[in-house]
């Protein structure tokens, strides 16, 4: 490959950016500018930093991220249509020594699988959920999701989401933070370098609380879907900043290790 020569390091050079080994060296099927790639990398980096790659079981969900098992070299179970937290519950109770996480989108988690995630959180299952919120059903062609913003046009609300007809977008990080068994619930964004660094810390914390046996770890990552938003990737990032973050405020909503939380 042509790039290999350019990657050769001189004696006084070093890599300023390490790519985690657990992230499979393979082009993803995601659209240009899709933030799933960043989210995958953050999870991979955190698993490597914690040294738990060999002891991790991933529960994949439905949506574009269904193929996470092709991109992360960890053992995986596939549990489509929102049932990932229920399957993860079984996996964790069967193998309490393993780190178990699910990776779910907003159509999967906030709509089809709302009951599963709420009860898993309320029971305080020692699992981690990485929730990628891009305000649409991505894989199926951009239908309205529970998180679709007011006025946002999708294929199933071509005139824009209407508050009276479809209700307000659902804020999952706050809802999860209100449940009893939750040890950590936070929302971060993947739109800028600063936010990505903060997001990594949030992902790490969500895994840490599981490893320490404190309870349920939940992290919501605001991400872009340029294809279904009908805009280019740069504009999609601007939209996250200008439209999504004002409605979905970033921050930690519950953290039992700090001794305080929203609830």
């Amino acid at each position: 490959m042509q790039a290999d020569e350019r990657l050769a390091l001189a004696d006084d050079e070093q890599m300023a950016f390490e790519v985690p080994d657990v992230l499979v060296d393979r082009a993803t099927h995601y659209c240009p500018g899709c933030h799933h790639g960043i989210a995958h990398r953050l999870v991979a980096e955190v698993l490597e930093e914690m040294g738990v790659v060999d002891d991790t079981i991933c529960v994949a969900s439905i949506g574009c991220s269904v193929f996470i098992y092709n991109y992360l070299a960890v053992d995986s179970v596939e549990a489509p249509h929102g049932r990932a937290p229920a399957v993860a519950t079984g996996v964790k109770r069967g193998r309490t020594d393993k780190i178990v996480f699910t990776y779910q989108g907003d159509g999967d988690l906030a709509s089809i699988g709302l009951a599963e995630v709420m009860h898993a959180a309320n029971r305080g299952e020692r699992i981690t959920i990485v929730f990628v919120n891009n305000t649409v059903y991505g894989m199926t062609g951009g239908q309205m999701a529970p998180t679709t913003l007011i006025g946002q046009k999708t294929t199933t609300c071509p005139g824009g989401r209407c508050r009276d007809r479809e209700g307000m977008p659902i804020r999952m990080a706050e809802i999860i933070a209100g449940l009893g068994g939750v040890a950590y619930s936070a929302r971060a964004s993947l739109d800028s370098v600063k936010n990505i660094r903060a997001a990594k810390k949030a992902v790490r914390k969500a895994f840490d609380v599981q490893q320490q046996g404190l309870g349920f770890g939940f992290v919501e990552l605001l991400s872009g879907c340029p294809t279904n938003w009908r805009m280019d990737a740069v504009k999609a990032n601007t939209r996250i900043r200008e439209e999504m973050i004002p409605y979905f405020p970033l921050g930690v909503y519950k953290d039992v290790t700090e001794g305080e939380g929203v609830c």
């Binding site: 042509q2 790519v19 500018g33």
Partner: protein
């Protein structure tokens, strides 16, 4: 001196890297890769301005960017 390497076949031409470069030296090239995406690049004469901060690599959704810096500049942009 630092440099960045774009893995052309991994780049999807989303250009997010161009928005985060503090020096603004990343541009879209006129080259297409095998998938038909117009890849990003740093023109050879602009590479000297690279600080090795790795912001581009951090935001790249396709892990298509490698950042290499000299050891002396280690502290400057270390993550």
């Amino acid at each position: 001196m630092s440099r960045v390497v774009f893995l052309d076949e991994r780049c999807k031409g989303c250009l997010l890297c161009t928005t985060v470069c503090p020096k603004g030296i990343i541009v879209q090239s006129s080259r297409f890769n095998r998938q038909g995406y117009k890849v990003a690049e740093v023109p050879a004469d602009a590479m000297k301005d690279c600080t090795g901060c790795a912001s581009c690599a951090l935001i790249c959704p396709d892990v298509a960017i490698r950042v290499i810096k000299s050891r002396k500049a280690k502290k400057a942009g270390k993550e």
